[in-house]
Symmetry: D2
Subunit: 367 residues, 4 copies
């Protein structure tokens, strides 16, 4: 209720702050009987962790995950799975006037006014570091969904500031530091120099990320409020720095005619996927397609006007190890949130309608 | 849990189908002591109801609301408020092959696969008619927020298909059939003929709607998951036909620099509002600004390819009384959802942090 | 959240007051495909309704239930089922000094202090009349559980004041006005004269009720908090006037040795049922056995000391149509609550562990 | 939802197993601004921990608690507080045929049938050891309630098997190993020899525990379902081995007349407290009084009949370090659960009705 749990049946409750002793989560509702060890989780955390290229924060964190409970002899028991990640790089630092003033674009101002208490250590609870436990939890969700329904997740960067990044194939995503689904070396080089310049200038930039879920069972989602797309929007907008979410055709729908937008059906399946895999809030069995807009990092070295707690004008510039484009590391996070939404709806559907009928043999489906 | 309730502390549970005997809702969690009668609710329902111009569905529904409980001697008691709206226009009609086949772009296909049961009467539960009880519930939320904090809501259409609708003043919204915030009579005339042509052609079109909340207390929203903007995205994406949601700068953030996007502060308040009134998931006290993309109506007279339940190819065209642009009536619905999100967070904040400090006397705020 | 909904997956939200225009509920989460009409619900309401003998309140209420939604062509659709019951007997009456003073043993004092608003009409929201919609909702739950697992419910009065009512057979329950599971005509006659004397004396009395669920699937219940017995205790203690709850051996466990209490197992099943069908919070497949203590009705004609809103001493006596023993009509209500707990746990178990394995062929079970 | 979280606004989610690496919990919803350190929590854990006398399990656990998050510079920040308790005494042991068979009275049978997976290490998740994190969380709740409203908690054993333990004063509770509120040395000696004999005989015994909350604000609790007493019953019945719960007069109400049971009011306050501090599900401001029945420990050395997983008959006897009366250590646990219920309702009341009016100056209250 106080906003630190995600999901109703596969519930992830996170804890921790950027520079406290540890971060982690408790996963309640993981079905029993799933083979699970740290080796299933660590690779997803490694995709998200800092320091993997010069274009992301240089904070050194192994993000080594430990399973504290819920697994016995390598199999989930149906009881809560606690994940613990120690914060290694709690570099003691001089927060300077950050403690007393509000960094533009940051949660400093709002946390102060809400709680009357503020943890200045790296943004405290509002740090993007808190997405690590979620990515860990989602690794478990992904494994279960894959085993049950063959569901798979992928994501990529589609826009970096002014640079469009055409989609070629998800296979290229791990081959470059940007999660770009392209093998275009010239484009990657252009992105690298774009980021280098930006970093030197002390500024930051936004990005657009696409994520997809494939082999999604038909019938997931609840009518009226807990629509699958509504829960996806909630999940995505809850990621740090996200300012916009689209499902399927998204804002392009505004200028579309009904005769263009509405995906026709044939015995071989849907002819298109403007719907993004969701109709009436319920999955069609097509790919779920989502786009998100990520704002530029607020922590920049450029001096900016602000005020202190007493309301006096101050200038603020943020030093330290920050991502000049938080969008770069956002792809595995967005995939994680999508996976958490889907497992929750899969379990809910099972409650309400019995085991999910995965296939509709008489009706093919296309992306 | 099964997706028919909205809100955690001010909880609205709706019921009913498009062509059943009645629709309505139960509101649990309305604070006691609020003066309330049907006269507070009916005007909001009238803004949304069908038949108000030739550009929306011609279904005749007075949408007369009755309060069944929770109010004693004109004041809320703190117990559940049930609202009942009778369906008057349950015209018996021949559903023809709609019962056996799936209308492209509709929830027919997904409801059938989810539930194995289908109510073909006007879309049954998936009908946009079910937004009526929500608008009724939100009228109560609006009244309470206005009395407590002076919070006010407004909305307008910003794009109708290819037509941009520049914002002039919310005062113009009630003066035209499109919820356009403009006094430009030529533009309104152009919109009217655009809609007339569309209707004649048997097709439909999308729209973009903006909504704003003003005089929002600072500090509403929860960290990490139940962020204010996440809950707004959830609320908006849950409205029928919505395919995209933006807060503040939205997708424009992608190409912005951090030095441009991050709103600076001065002793007089924030200098800009790219954040849309939310930082770190918590309200700043600035205007909350939201944009949504609404897809074109799926019910069109143009014949389209589809399949029947047995998987055989069929052609489907939808007759009857439909909105050629569901976006037209979406403005009061989007305002309603925003109000429901805000009252829920206001109550939650009161639980966690005591009564909301409405004003921050030492810090001015600007839109 | 505000206490007017019961159940997490089969969620019943009630509304209404004792003397308002109507009472009712919305049931969210009923699985689709269940054949349902008012005829399935009305008989359960008739078991609970007032006026069936001279030993209960003489208020005349047909308690005729109407299904407003969620059923199409006689089958549940998976969408919310709204039940409406009109209050017929809203006799205009002089509340006298009840409005300004607090009846001992009643919720008047606490509602006034909580809400600052009070509905004096027959107790308003705190009236036992509000159990009617719950009994209606539970009739649906009972039907589903019976069809899925063969689960059946029964209940009876075991103590009326000082009178013990030995258990013979549930078949006798409908043959007397007390829900006594006995064919002992002399005992029934004694109970009748006991109640007649009590009524004449203007006083009231408590009762003890037993309820049982049979053919319960093994494995229902969640560990640690949402234990099956914990949820049963919650459900039972929430019934008006209940002051104690026991599962299985209950308070007799205090003086039992472990060697006596712990039910042994043999290949033919459990040897005893001191556990009441629950071990570690999870159903064993044995009968679920529950006992509840119901306090004497607070509304009595005997004058009693109290205070008014200003704190001045007053004498209060309650006239009108009251049950001299609210325990008499409590049996169908307690059965209803037990059914609502079980369906909720059955759905939850299906979510977490897939479809419930109803039988354990290699292990017999005994009551 | 999967049963490992307690509370809606002050939500405690526990994790861990009896013999895993660690147990702990995440507390979401603790109000900001509370001074807090491990020193506030450890004393409560020490009251519950094993090995404090020869009458409880000899397992050696320091139960040293560590705060991982949610506290900055000694003050709660409003973000999740994670508590971690390492399991020190994970003695490797030969579980023998316990792994393959079901101990009578234990959760072995039901966990196996529910999850198809079983953790035999000391009962795994179903162990009473999992009450430790809850007691830790409740220490925080107690501190907050004490600071806000002066609320205090106390509890004591009232019956040990056949031995009644008259109440003298809560001050005596820490002076004996039984949480007995008595200074009667002869009685204590009798209890000691009773327990010694029982232990030698390889058997176990039940107990009855009373708990009380004092200085409870009037107005806590929700009508109809989330009644304060219903939530207390849920909390208490969820404690390991509890089989019965009473509020106020409890089962004694059955034989009471309304003229006796209903507590009269005078300008000086309530004349009695048969209600146990709750009327209509809402606190009266009087003491909340609760009694619970705790069954005898199921782990006994006496050989008992059971079956193995294949359904074959076996004899089971349980060796190891077990409490011969789990009721002895139940007092701090029952206090803890009561505190968690009260803080949750206090926060809920604040949400719904604004800050709680602690005192009703014109009306005195008595226990």
């Amino acid at each position: 209720m106080s906003g630190n749990s995600f999901g109703k049946l596969f519930t992830v409750t996170t804890f921790g702050e950027s520079h406290g002793p540890a971060i982690g989560c408790v996963i309640d509702g993981c079905p029993p009987g799933l083979a699970l060890s740290e080796a299933d989780i660590q690779p997803e955390l490694d995709r998200r962790k800092p320091g993997t290229s010069r274009h992301v924060t240089q904070r050194q964190e192994p993000d080594a995950v430990q399973i504290l409970s819920g697994v016995y002899e390598g199999v989930t028991t149906g009881t809560p799975i606690a994940l613990l990640i120690r914060n290694e790089d709690q570099r003691s630092k001089d927060y300077g006037n950050i403690v007393e003033s509000f960094r533009p674009g940051h949660a400093d101002y709002t946390y102060w006014h809400k709680y009357g208490v503020r943890d200045p250590r790296g943004g405290g609870r509002s740090s993007a570091r808190l997405t690590a436990p979620v990515v860990g939890a989602a690794a478990i969700a992904k494994k279960w969904l894959k085993e049950q329904y063959g569901t798979e997740f992928a994501g990529c960067m589609r826009t970096l500031g002014e640079i469009d990044v055409p989609f070629q194939d998800f296979a290229h995503v791990p081959t470059n530091p940007f999660f770009a689904a392209t093998a275009d070396a010239a484009l990657i080089a252009r992105m690298e120099s774009y980021m280098d310049e930006l970093r030197k200038s002390g500024d930051s930039i936004g990005a657009r990320i696409d994520v997809v879920a494939r082999n999604v069972p038909v019938g997931l989602g609840q009518p009226i409020y807990d629509k699958l797309d509504a829960d996806i929007a909630y999940a995505m907008m809850g990621i740090n720095a996200v300012k916009g979410v689209e499902i399927g055709a998204g804002f392009a729908s505004v200028a579309q005619r009904g005769s263009e937008h509405g995906d026709e059906l044939t015995p071989q399946g849907f002819v298109g996927n403007h719907a993004g895999g969701v109709l009436g809030g319920i999955s069609t069995g097509q790919d779920i397609t989502v786009s998100i807009a990520i704002k530029p990092t607020s922590s920049i070295r450029t001096p900016r006007r602000s005020i202190d707690k007493a309301g006096n004008p101050v200038m603020v510039e943020t030093f330290g190890r920050h991502d000049p484009c938080v969008g770069i590391r956002a792809t595995p996070i967005a995939e994680a949130m999508l996976a958490l939404v889907l497992i929750d709806h899969a379990l809910m559907h099972r409650a309400q309608c019995g085991d999910v009928r995965v296939t509709t043999p008489d009706i093919g489906r296309q992306g």
